[in-house]
Amino acid sequence: MKYMVMMFGDQATMMETRSLDWIKEMIEFMTQVDVDLKEWGEHVFDAGLADATQAKTVVIKDGIPVPTDGPFAESKESLAGYWIIDVEDESRALEFASKIVAFIEGPVEVRQVMDAPPEF
């Protein structure tokens, strides 16, 4: 089963609240997570996103789509990166998410990717 595992946050908040050592460890941790996922045969895709302050949101104004600066949610609550993983069941996806949460100490959202109906 495929799951999307999502991480939130922004660059400014991290720079204000984290030390150089923590950032170094975080980079090592995230690099290792991708290595591990590939090793376990569960990696489908992963992506880090450019900082949310660089986002544009297209909204409808007077019936016309208009691009505006900034993300949809608050920057610090915006999507920062995600993995698509292919795992045996939900508990495995939650186990993976827990590993991330234990390190970043922030919430991680786990959503199942919808699929075709089963054959029988």
Binding site: S19, I27, V35, A50
Partner: protein, 416 residues
């Protein structure tokens, strides 16, 4: 017995020649291109088991022609042909020109201005580079079906544009060559930019860009910019092994372990620059190659000949002005006349609209402020740059630079 790699190299060398022959004989660039791709795949299988035929080129022409005829026999293909032959007339009489190398014509066709840049890249790699759709898809990290569609739409565009299989007319040639060089430059960059990512190496694209540019240089030995681009690629790629450390982090030029640089490539690049400079019209690729050569020839970062680099950037700014050139000149000025002089030049870019969407101005500013000992301002500049970059390795590098400049580190502060 020819090895698998040997066969692949041979097939990729022959692919554009075979395609040229077919297009001259039958017209219909798009159908011929598919047929050559199929013939190459068949050859890859058959030659690996049964050995390479005595005349591999005519083997491929025969097999590809057969595919083409098979294709035409099918009803749907016939309808398509009736709709399109008129649009892609070709100067016939291929046999009067047996030794003519069509590779150059192909290169111009694949870099046709009617195509979007991603399409130019994909089509060039397939038709001239002889890569399979699967290989190209993998290199650009997109699904194979997406890449197949991109290539097929590119061929459709060429047909719609009424392009002919002929070299561009003399008066358009220089401008069209500029596009070809830009496409090759982008292929190189696509591979080079990715090599810093953890676990991701797309070194194949840099190798392929160098191979194609070398081919172009062989076809147009007198063109200084072709030689310049080849030299620039060789001199830049020579530093590949030193550009990232074991865990994939970016290592800036000044901190690279120079013993990891590829000396053979540096030698080749330097000779190309030396032979070319001054013998033909000067151009931006030659100048950038000359600058790269000065970096590559310095045994240590400290012994880099910055006054010479600055002089070259001043010429480059006259020949090919732009904010990125100014940015690089500012660094050279800082290295020759001190960081404050460099920062003054950055000030002139402040209001440049072309700089508003890039992190590079702040990244350079952070570096120069750090050199000037202004820790607080340097940290702010690095932070702004880290927030704006769209490259993960670069963001990590800039974040660490900013975090490493916490006020506690200020005892190291120095005045220039």
């Amino acid at each position: 017995m020819t090895s698998k790699t040997g066969i692949e190299d041979l097939l990729r060398e022959l692919a554009p020649q075979v395609l040229g022959t077919l297009v001259r004989r039958y017209g219909q660039f798009d159908a011929c291109e598919d047929a050559v791709q199929e013939a190459s795949l068949a050859a890859g299988v058959q030659w690996t088991g049964g050995g390479v035929p005595a005349n591999p080129r005519s083997w491929l022409v025969t097999v590809a022609s057969r595919r083409l005829v098979d294709e035409w026999r099918s009803e749907s293909a016939r309808r398509r042909r009736e709709a399109t032959t008129a649009a892609m007339e070709v100067v016939p009489a291929p046999d009067q020109l047996p030794d003519r190398d069509d590779t150059l014509t192909l290169l111009f066709l694949c870099c046709h201005p009617a195509l979007s840049v991603p399409s130019q890249l994909a089509l060039t790699l397939r038709a001239v580079g002889g890569l399979t759709t699967g290989e190209i898809a993998k290199a650009f990290l997109v699904p194979e079906a997406t890449m197949a569609q991109r290539i097929s739409r590119a061929k459709q565009r060429i047909r719609d544009a009424g392009a002919r299989f002929d070299l561009p007319p003399e008066q358009e040639r220089a401008e069209r060559l500029r596009v070809v060089l830009h496409v090759l430059y982008l292929v190189f960059n696509e591979g080079y930019a990715a090599t810093a990512g953890p676990g991701v190496t797309r070194a194949d694209l840099t190798t392929e860009a160098i191979r194609l540019t070398r081919l172009l240089h062989r076809l147009m030995p007198a063109d200084g910019e072709v030689a310049g681009l080849l030299a620039l690629m060789l001199l830049t790629d020579a530093r590949r092994a030193a550009r990232a450390d074991e865990d994939g982090s970016l290592v800036p030029l000044a901190k690279q372990r120079r013993e990891l640089w590829n000396l053979a490539q540096i030698d080749e690049g330097v000779s190309l620059v030396t032979e070319t400079l001054g013998t033909t019209a000067i151009g931006p690729y030659q100048l950038q190659a000359a600058i790269a050569a000065i970096h590559d020839e310095a045994p240590t970062a400290e012994t880099t000949d910055w006054p010479q680099i600055l002089a070259l950037y001043e010429v480059l700014e006259r020949v090919s002005p732009g904010p990125v050139v100014t940015l690089n000149r500012a660094v050279a000025v800082a290295m020759v006349h001190g960081p404050r002089a460099g920062l003054a030049i950055l000030g002139t870019l402040e209001d440049d609209d072309r700089m508003t969407h890039t992190h590079r101005l702040d990244a350079v500013r952070g570096h120069l402020l750090e050199l000037a000992g202004d820790v607080d301002a340097a940290r702010d500049a690095y932070r702004r740059a880290a927030t704006r970059t769209a490259s993960l390795p670069e963001r990590r590098y800039l974040t660490l630079q900013a975090a490493g400049l916490e006020p506690a580190a200020s005892p190291n502060l120095r005045e220039e």
